[in-house]
C-alpha cells in the first residue's frame, strides 16, 4: 500500500515579527517548521508502516529548496521518499493555484491513500486538501482525530472526525484524502541515534514545473483567483471606565454587587 503524505512547512509562529511601520511580516528570519496537523498525518503513516512493513510512505511538499534539511530529517524517521515541488513560478500561488499544482503531480504518481493535516497555522484556510480531493475526484474528511482501521487490502478506512458538535465515525472507501487534526495526538517517531547523520539525499526528488508541465498561466499570482490587498493588525479596542479592586472582602463585595445589579446572581 502506498501512502502519500502532503505536508507544509510554516513559519514558526512563536518566532516571527511584524514590522508595524512598513506593515509587513518579517519572513526573512522566520524559522520554518513542520505544520503541527501535518506532523500527525505523517506520524500516523509511519506508525502504520512500522506495523505493516510493505507500506510505502512518500512525503510531498510544495516548498522552497531551503526546506531540504527539514525533509531529510523526516526521511531519517523512516519515510521512504520525498518529493519537493519547487519552482519560482509557483511563488505567490493562492490555494486554488497551489491545489492545481500539487494535484498535477499526484495525478502522475500513484497512491492508495493520501494523508494531510486539516489546517495550516499560517494561512489557516483548510482549502488545499478539499480542493485536491475535488481535482482527483476523491472523498475527503477533515478534523480526523483517530484512524481506527485501514483495511489491509486497501478497500476502506474507519475514522473518527471531530465536528466540534460531536464525534462522527465514518467508513470511507480508498483511495481518499484523510486530513488529520493535531488533536489526534499521533507523534512522529524519534530519529534513531545511528541514523542521525544518515545520507538520505538519494531519496529526495525535487520537481520543477518543467517536470510537472502546469500551464504557466495557472501558476503563481497569474493562476490565483484571490489576492491579498493589504494586511493590518486589529484596531485598538475602545477603553472602558473601569473600577479597580483587590481580592479582599471589599473587592469581592464590589464584584458581587455588580453581578447582582446585572442580574447574574
Amino acid at each position: 500500500m502506498k501512502i502519500v503524505c502532503l505536508i507544509k512547512f510554516v513559519p514558526d509562529l512563536d518566532n516571527f515579527t511584524y514590522d508595524y511601520e512598513r506593515n509587513v511580516l518579517v519572513r526573512e528570519n522566520a524559522k520554518l517548521v513542520l505544520n503541527p496537523d501535518d506532523a500527525c498525518a505523517l506520524a500516523f503513516a509511519l506508525d502504520l508502516k512500522a506495523k505493516r512493513p510493505e507500506t510505502v510512505v512518500e512525503i510531498v511538499a510544495m516548498a522552497p529548496g531551503s526546506v531540504l534539511p527539514l525533509v531529510e530529517d523526516l526521511l531519517r524517521r523512516k519515510a521512504d521518499r520525498a518529493t519537493i515541488i519547487s519552482d519560482r513560478l509557483f511563488a505567490g500561488s493562492d490555494t486554488y493555484a497551489t491545489s492545481k499544482i500539487i494535484a498535477s503531480y499526484l495525478k502522475k504518481t500513484g497512491y492508495d491513500l493520501i494523508l494531510t493535516g486539516t489546517r495550516s497555522v499560517d494561512g489557516d484556510t483548510s482549502h488545499v486538501p478539499s480542493q485536491i480531493a475535488e481535482l482527483l475526484d476523491l472523498e475527503q474528511l477533515s478534523h480526523i482525530v483517530k484512524i481506527h482501521e485501514v483495511s489491509p487490502d486497501g478497500d476502506t478506512a474507519i475514522v473518527d472526525a471531530d465536528t466540534e458538535r460531536c464525534l462522527e465515525r465514518y467508513e470511507i472507501e480508498l483511495p481518499c484524502i484523510l486530513s488529520l487534526s493535531s488533536e489526534s495526538k499521533y507523534k512522529l517517531p524519534y530519529v534513531r541515534y545511528r541514523d542521525l547523520k544518515l545520507d538520505v539525499r538519494d531519496r529526495i526528488t525535487v520537481l520543477d514545473n518543467e517536470a510537472l508541465g502546469v500551464p504557466e498561466s495557472e501558476t503563481g499570482l497569474k493562476g490565483s483567483m484571490t489576492r491579498v490587498k493589504r494586511t493590518f493588525t486589529a484596531a485598538p479596542v475602545q477603553e472602558k471606565k473601569r473600577i479597580v479592586v483587590g481580592t479582599d472582602e471589599k473587592g469581592i463585595e464590589t464584584v458581587y454587587q455588580f453581578l447582582k445589579y446585572k442580574g447574574f446572581v
Binding site: V121, S130, E134, E164, L167, R169, G246, F264
Partner: protein
C-alpha cells in the same frame, strides 16, 4: 438584480442565516435577491428572511456527502447564475466551500470576519497567522464571488418579513457516496461555549489551577473557556478556546482570569456586555476593556467568590423560609 446564495448548514442554522448581514455588506446599495440553499427538509427559520429558498430533495444525498452537495450546488448555480455564494465556515462548510470554488473555477476567501465595499470593490477581511494579523482579500471579478464566513460574527437584524418563494430542486447529477456515516457520538462536546451567557475564562495565569474555574462556572451557571496559552499547553481542549484561532463568543458576562488579552484573544469577544478581569497585572490589555478589574491572584479570587455566592444563596433561601 444581483443574486446571492447562502448555504444553510443544519448544524448551525442561526449562523447560516446571519450570513444575510454579510450579503448586505457586499451590496450596500441594495438591488439584490437572496437565495437560501437547503438539503432534505425546508428550514422554517429561513422563511420570511430570504427571497427564495431552494429546497433540494433527493434520497441519494445526505448532509455529510460533500461530493454530492458540490454537484448539487454546481447544478443550482448553472440554473440561477449567482453573483455570490456564501457558505458558513462550519465543519462541513469548510470542506464544501473549497470544492465548490474549484468546481466553478473561482476564488474562495476562507473564514471571513468582515466585508467592506469601497468604490465598488469588495474587500473580504479574514484573520491570518493564527489571528496575529488580518488580511484584506479581493477576488478577481469572476462570478460567483465565493466566501466561507466565520460563524457567530455577523449579526443579522431582520427587516420587513419577506414573501419567501420556495423552489423545489431535484438534482440530476447524484453519484453513489463513497463514505458512510456509521455513528455519531454526542459526548460532552455537545456543550458549546458560544451558547453560554456566562463564560469563566482562564489564561496562562490559571495554568496551575485551571480546574478551579469549574467551581466558579457552576456557582454562576456558566461555562468554562480558555485562552490559546492554556489550549496549547494541553490543559484544555481546543473546542473551548476563545479567540481568532478558537471561537468567537458573545456572552453577557465574561470573567477573564489570568488572561493577558492579546489582540487575537480580544477579537474572539464580540458584543460582550460585561467583562470582569482578574489579573496580577492591572495594566494587562484585557483590563482596559473591563468593567471591573480585580488586581490579585485568580485562585484566591475564585475561592472567595464561590464562597460569597454560595453564602448569599443560603442567606436568600433562609430569608424565603
Amino acid at each position: 438584480m444581483k443574486k446571492s446564495l447562502v448555504y444553510l448548514d443544519k448544524e448551525d442554522i442561526k449562523s447560516s442565516i446571519e450570513l444575510l448581514e454579510a450579503v448586505n455588506r457586499i451590496y450596500p446599495d441594495g438591488g439584490y435577491e437572496t437565495y437560501a440553499f437547503c438539503v432534505n427538509g425546508l428550514s422554517d427559520a429561513a422563511m420570511g428572511k430570504f427571497d427564495y429558498v431552494i429546497c433540494v430533495e433527493h434520497e441519494g444525498i445526505r448532509e455529510h456527502d460533500v461530493r454530492n452537495l458540490t454537484n448539487c450546488l454546481e447544478e443550482a448555480h448553472r440554473a440561477y447564475h449567482f453573483d455570490s455564494i456564501l457558505i458558513p465556515a462550519t465543519y462541513r462548510g469548510r470542506m464544501l466551500a473549497p470544492r465548490v470554488a474549484m468546481r466553478l473555477g473561482v476564488g474562495l476567501v476562507a473564514d471571513v470576519t468582515d466585508v467592506s465595499c469601497k468604490h465598488g470593490e469588495v474587500e473580504l477581511i479574514r484573520p491570518a497567522f493564527s489571528g496575529k494579523l488580518f488580511a484584506a482579500v479581493v477576488t478577481n471579478r469572476k462570478k460567483p464571488m465565493m466566501m466561507s464566513v466565520r460563524p457567530n460574527v455577523f449579526t443579522y437584524t431582520p427587516g420587513a418579513v419577506k414573501d419567501t418563494e420556495i423552489i423545489s430542486f431535484r438534482p440530476d447529477n447524484v453519484q453513489p457516496a463513497r463514505l458512510r456515516l456509521t455513528e455519531r457520538i454526542e459526548a460532552e462536546k455537545a456543550q458549546d461555549i458560544r451558547e453560554s451567557k456566562i463564560l469563566i475564562s482562564g489564561g496562562g495565569g490559571t495554568a496551575a489551577h485551571f480546574d478551579m474555574l469549574y467551581s466558579l462556572a457552576e456557582a454562576l451557571g456558566g461555562m468554562v473557556s480558555a485562552s490559546r496559552r492554556i489550549v496549547d499547553s494541553g490543559i484544555a481542549p481546543r473546542s473551548i478556546q476563545v479567540g481568532l484561532s478558537g471561537k468567537t463568543v458573545s456572552p453577557k458576562l465574561y470573567i477573564a482570569l489570568g488572561i493577558y488579552g492579546s489582540v487575537q484573544h480580544m477579537e474572539g469577544l464580540k458584543n460582550v456586555e460585561s467583562i470582569i478581569s482578574v489579573n496580577t497585572n492591572r495594566n494587562a490589555p484585557i483590563c482596559s476593556v473591563s468593567d471591573i478589574v480585580v488586581e490579585g491572584d485568580s485562585q484566591e479570587f475564585i475561592k472567595k467568590m464561590v464562597q460569597k455566592i454560595n453564602d448569599e444563596k443560603i442567606k436568600h433561601r433562609g430569608a424565603e423560609a
